[in-house]
């Protein structure tokens, strides 16, 4: 978390106050967004953060509330009650279909 303390405003490096949010697969296509940076003032659970996104982007509600949607916090699969802090990377995506 201390990583962000020396950020040069000219850099595209995520701010320490922000959570980097990524979307993949069909979700990315539906939201027409692969990535965004969300400022948070205090730690939130993944569900709370989802609500923040929905209030900011009401059109996204049906896709973000899909039951099968998965979340990974800092590249580890996570449940919706896990805590997101500034500087974290959070990804949302549908069930995987590789192989």
């Amino acid at each position: 978390m201390a990583v962000g303390s020396e950020i040069n405003p000219n850099d595209a490096i995520p701010s320490a106050q922000n959570v980097e949010i990524l979307f993949f697969g069909q979700l990315k296509e539906r939201l027409k967004c692969s990535k965004l940076s969300l400022e948070i003032t205090q730690p939130l659970t993944i569900s709370e953060l989802k609500l923040r996104l929905v209030s900011q982007y009401p059109d996204w509600q049906p896709w973000l509330e899909e039951r099968e949607l998965l979340a990974a916090l800092n590249q580890t699969m996570s449940s919706s009650d896990e805590i997101v802090k500034a500087g974290d990377e959070l990804a949302f995506f549908p069930p995987v279909t590789g192989g």
């Binding site: 993949f24 549908p94 995987v96 279909t97 590789g98 192989g99």
Partner: protein, 152 residues
């Protein structure tokens, strides 16, 4: 013990990968490899290609952890996992899993375990392209059921 993980757009050569698994390897009596190909798996419509997307960073970590889990369950000296991403035409190779072991049973089971885990956990998403449209592939319950055999 060695693990090789690669996510790439380029094709791979099964012969080369097989040779790498066998070269300077005097202790293993078994090599099992699996190659996945792009097929017409949608009902009715003709799939002309697949497009594969992944979560860079997380995918490699997951594949590494699947390979490590396989090595804790079976004596697998060498493991190679290659997965392609991007636009792949019908008949092209998508995925390669190769393992070596002293004996065949561990090699067969280990390779199958890796493929089952990869299908269920590795962060890849497939989109089918048809002549005039495209469609994201839905997660298959049968893949989830295939996992059941490793949970005892």
């Amino acid at each position: 013990m060695s693990i090789h993980i690669q996510v790439q757009t380029d094709d791979f050569n099964v012969g080369d990968e097989h040779n790498t698994l066998c070269s300077n390897n005097k202790s293993d009596g078994a090599v099992v490899t699996f190659t996945g190909l792009v097929r017409e798996f949608s009902s009715g419509d003709n799939v002309i290609a697949l497009e594969l997307e992944h979560y860079p960073g997380m995918t490699e970590q997951l594949l590494q952890s699947i390979a490590e889990q396989a090595q804790t369950r079976w004596q697998l000296a060498r493991i190679c996992i290659i997965h392609r991403v991007g636009y792949l035409a019908l008949g092209e190779q998508i995925v390669f899993v190769g393992v070596t072991s002293r004996h065949r049973q561990a090699a067969f089971e280990g390779a199958q375990f890796i493929m089952d885990y990869l299908k269920n956990h590795a962060t890849f998403w497939k989109k089918e392209h048809f002549k005039d449209s495209s469609n994201w592939v839905e997660f298959k319950q049968s893949d989830k059921q295939a996992m059941g055999r490793w949970e005892s």
